[in-house]
């Protein structure tokens, strides 16, 4: 360590090695890597649960699981993917990239950063171990609607605690990100000169701070209803089950944007780089992101069109939701305009970003369909909705995460990844993704409810296609793992700036980025 860091880093004399390095590290790069590995682990775990679901749904009839276990699979798949895989993955990117992109030496609160990460593994263990307690994991769906969640066994309590812990972790992470961005930018980097990834994270972090406590409140009320005789969600005691849904979705809808805004950020870095042309409409991108964030607070009840809202309520939430299509559209147009008349090449990061643009937009369209209340009343809680949110979360968030990983991997590891394997990963993911989820639109329109372990026969063929696609998609992710491991172990040496069109600060550093960077801040012109 000494030798590597040289005289500049004398204060690092007692830098621990081995496992204690990781337990005690306050280095944003170490923490970023831990976040990324953690989320990948959860992604695989959640993915295995998904395959359990698809295996049961391969054919009509109950073959593999009891219905109650099936419900546990869908619930835990959702919880793990949302809170364990997607959110921490973006925080991992934030940790690695924000300091590098704004020319800061580390995150503002380095020790808190360590703590926010190390809260996650215990939370994940709580979730995973809930499968083994009496009654098994909670099967109330990732939304944990009362009163069903009040009925569940102790697996539910474990999930509640897990959500509390992960919420605390997210809040700390967000505080850190906000303070870092606002206070530690290199001289000359005004807000409107920040890379878009940083902008999207700044806005996301505010969303997180605003809504994670709301979720914590919702699950705490559940907890007290379950054990301490309160009746928040029990009509017999003066409560209201629908109250839970209002509180949950007040968190839940901004949460959707928490999972997609940083993805927008990544794509906004990648597309200009490979189009060799500056991002079109930088300012309008920033404003669009901010307006999406603000609108996300007034649309929550579009998840609740069938709870029996009055017409005025339905109309308000429908209009507000449709409005979100405007800034989202602006983003898509801006990305296409960035590509327009560029000089494009299609390395893996670009493929994933273009793939994102193409498939995410389909998810945007189905989102618009769902926004129209009368149609939503027909397709709410069907496979159409399942298709919709996998188009935005898998093809949206996940593809952007892949894109970002390939994009920055040379900076993180100092090696170029295997381009052939990367492209293979992209094409297979794209094909299997669509195979799995496109047919779900048909299933939903034709009337197949979600969260059912068995279905009537007219849904058989599309379910079979979806299940085959899902297994293909799952296996394809092993290619991703292989690329990463190969890239960490070796491969062609990466130059400081492997991408011709890249122009943010991290590319001024050598690859791999040294353990300590920007100890003297760079000056941005």
């Amino acid at each position: 360590m000494e030798a590597v860091h040289g005289h500049d880093h004398a204060h690092d004399h007692h830098h621990p090695t081995g496992i204690t390095r990781w337990l005690t590290t306050t280095n944003h790069k170490d923490i970023g890597s831990m976040y990324l590995w953690f989320s990948f682990t959860m992604f695989i775990t959640g993915g295995i649960l998904a395959l359990g679901i698809r295996a049961e749904l391969f054919q009509p009839g109950l073959q593999l699981w009891k219905p109650e276990f099936f419900n546990q699979l869908t619930t835990m798949h959702g919880l793990m993917m949302v809170f364990g895989a997607i959110m921490p993955a973006f925080v991992g990117f934030a940790n690695w990239q924000i300091p590098l992109m704004i020319g800061a030496s580390d995150m503002a609160f380095a020790r808190m950063n360590n703590f926010s990460f190390w809260l996650l593994p215990p939370a994940a263990l709580l979730l995973a171990s809930s499968f083994f307690v009496p009654g098994g994991a909670t099967g109330a769906g990732w939304t944990l609607y009362a009163p069903l969640s009040v009925q569940q066994g102790m697996g539910m309590d474990l999930a509640i605690f897990a959500v509390h812990i992960m919420g605390a972790s997210s809040i700390m992470g967000s505080i850190n990100i906000i303070v870092t961005i606002l206070n530690m930018r290199a001289p000359g980097m005004t807000l409107m000169k920040m890379p878009l990834f940083v902008w999207t994270w700044l806005i996301t972090a505010y969303l997180l701070i605003a809504v994670m406590p709301v979720l914590a409140g919702a699950v705490t009320m559940l907890l007290t209803d379950r054990h301490f005789g309160t009746n928040f969600f029990n009509a017999a005691g003066g409560g209201d089950p629908v109250l839970y849904q209002h509180v949950f979705w007040f968190f839940g809808h901004p949460e959707v944007y928490i999972m997609i805004l940083p993805a927008f950020g990544i794509v906004s870095q990648v597309i200009p780089t490979f189009a060799r042309k500056p991002l079109f409409g930088y300012a309008s991108m920033v404003y669009a992101t901010a307006s999406i964030a603000i609108l996300s607070f007034i649309v929550w009840a579009h998840h609740m069109f069938v709870t029996g809202m009055p017409a005025a309520g339905q109309l308000f939430f429908m209009y507000a939701t449709m409005l979100i299509a405007v800034p989202t559209g602006v983003k898509v147009f801006n990305w296409v305009a960035t590509m327009w008349k560029g000089s494009m090449t299609f390395e893996t990061p670009m493929l994933f970003s273009v793939g994102f643009l193409f498939v995410f937009t389909m998810g945007g369209f189905t989102g618009l369909v769902c926004a129209v209340a009368p149609i939503d009343i027909q397709i709410q809680d069907t496979y159409y909705v399942v298709a919709h949110f996998h188009y935005v979360l898998v093809a949206g968030s996940l593809f952007a995460l892949f894109s970002g990983t390939y994009f920055w991997l040379p900076k993180w590891t100092g090696h170029m990844y295997d381009e052939k394997l990367g492209k293979l990963h992209f094409w297979l993911s794209m094909i299997f993704f669509n195979m799995t989820f496109f047919v779900m639109h048909f299933l939903g329109l034709a009337g197949m409810p979600r969260r059912i372990p068995d279905y009537s026969q007219q849904f058989a063929d599309f379910n079979m296609i979806a299940s085959i696609g899902a297994f293909g998609f799952g296996l394809t992710q092993l290619i991703f793992l292989a690329v990463i491991i190969k890239c960490i172990k070796g491969g062609p040496k990466a130059p400081a700036k492997p991408w011709e069109g890249a122009d943010t600060l991290e590319w001024t550093l050598p690859s791999p980025a040294p353990y300590h960077t920007f100890e003297t801040p760079p000056v941005v012109k």
Binding site: G308, Y319, V336, T338, G342, M362, I377, F442, P449, S456
Partner: protein, 374 residues
């Protein structure tokens, strides 16, 4: 190139979704005015989306093929154009207004549950539906008031669990007692639930309404044509969520009256004076008139509910047929056992978790279980 074939495929699929006379790719054939409105609204929006999709991604793919480095294209340097940006903010907004208008009309129509001809209360239970024809206002008042019954999945368990058994045509979408309604009449459905949230959903009617314990919500439909229409519970409600279908039989007004008059005597006869809601739990399936309220069927209650835990010995429940598990319990005497089953004991929920069961039904179920376990 692959990408190209992919869009071709995707567009082809979208198109087929648009035409979708066959309900396999699109919404089910609409049977009410609301469902028709929803159907055309969906078709409209789908086509708008397809057009925008083709325009945007036409441009993108054109650019992907023409503006690439490998064909020697040099990058331009523009990165802003206020006019263009304003245009593509305003145009979508206008399109949205165009969509919002018909949607608003439909919502207002959907919400208008006034002046029904017939009112039916649908109660969601874990895991079946209970229907009660209640005294409402309109033209059919008095015809079916007081008729009530439960509606259980009627698909045989073997079809679900045994892959070798041929599945029936309406696998999982069939019930013992169908909800019968007259065509051409405005039927108002009140929804509520006994335990957790369920949702009453009949796709062909364009009707989906959560059934919320402790609250009453309503919705309505007016069916065009006689027929049998199938739907399902649409809100996750626990383990048998996938097994509580809704089957509505729409018949002519005469047939409806006829049906209702046959239901009533049975219902009255079966009603244990105190508790009117229990009425049809015991009403035998098909033809209620002949056999005035059959005997309380312990076997049925056992299989429909208790077996969930007692069949396999879940959560510490004594397994039926397992003599060792029962000896000590039997020693308590039948009365105590029945009392425990009715009031609940430790992990055993009161009445097996279904408060709608009568004491007699639970007792019968206990007798049935005990008989198998001695």
């Amino acid at each position: 190139m692959k990408k190209l074939s992919l869009i071709a495929l995707a567009t082809a699929m979208c198109l087929s979704g648009g035409i979708a006379a066959a309900s396999r790719y699109g919404l089910q054939d609409p049977q009410t005015s609301i469902a028709r409105d929803i159907y055309s609204l969906h078709t409209l929006i789908l086509w708008i989306c397809v057009v925008i999709f083709v325009a945007v991604f036409g441009a993108m793919f054109y650019s992907i093929f023409k503006h690439r480095k490998s064909v020697g294209h040099k990058a331009a340097h523009f990165h802003e154009n206020t006019t263009v940006e304003v245009i593509w903010t305003v145009i979508p907004f206008v399109i949205l207004l165009g969509m919002a208008y018909p949607a608003t009309k439909t919502i207002i129509e959907m919400k208008d549950t006034s002046n029904p001809d017939l009112t039916i209360k649908a109660t969601g239970y874990q895991w079946k539906w209970g229907y009660e024809y209640i005294k409402g206002e309109g033209s059919l008042t008095g015809v079916s008031d007081g008729v009530s019954f439960y509606s259980n999945l009627s698909t045989p368990q073997e079809q679900i669990h045994d892959p070798k058994v041929q599945k029936g045509e309406n696998y999982l979408l069939e019930v013992d007692n169908e909800l019968v309604v007259p065509v051409g009449k405005k039927v108002r459905i009140l929804t509520t639930a006994a335990d957790v949230i369920h949702a009453f959903w009949v796709p062909a009617f364009g009707v989906k309404q959560d059934a919320i314990p402790g609250f009453i919500r309503d919705t309505w439909f007016k069916v065009d044509q006689p027929g049998v229409y199938r739907g399902q519970c649409a809100e996750l409600c626990g383990k048998e969520h996938g097994f509580m279908p809704i089957v509505v039989r729409a018949v002519s007004e005469e047939e409806f009256k006829d049906w209702a008059s046959k239901q009533k005597p049975a219902a009255v006869a079966a009603a244990p004076a105190a508790d009117a809601t229990q009425v049809a739990a015991v009403a035998p399936a098909a033809d209620a008139t002949a056999a005035a309220a059959g005997p309380v069927d312990g076997k049925k209650t056992y299989e429909g509910l208790c077996a969930a835990c007692h069949g396999a010995g879940i959560a510490g429940a004594p397994k039926v047929g397992d003599k060792a598990a029962w000896t000590a319990r039997l020693a308590q005497g039948d009365a105590t056992l029945a009392k425990h089953a009715i009031e609940g004991i430790r992990a055993m929920p009161a009445k097996g978790g279904n408060p709608a069961l009568s004491d007699a039904e639970v007792k019968a179920a206990v007798e049935h279980m005990v008989g198998l376990s001695k």
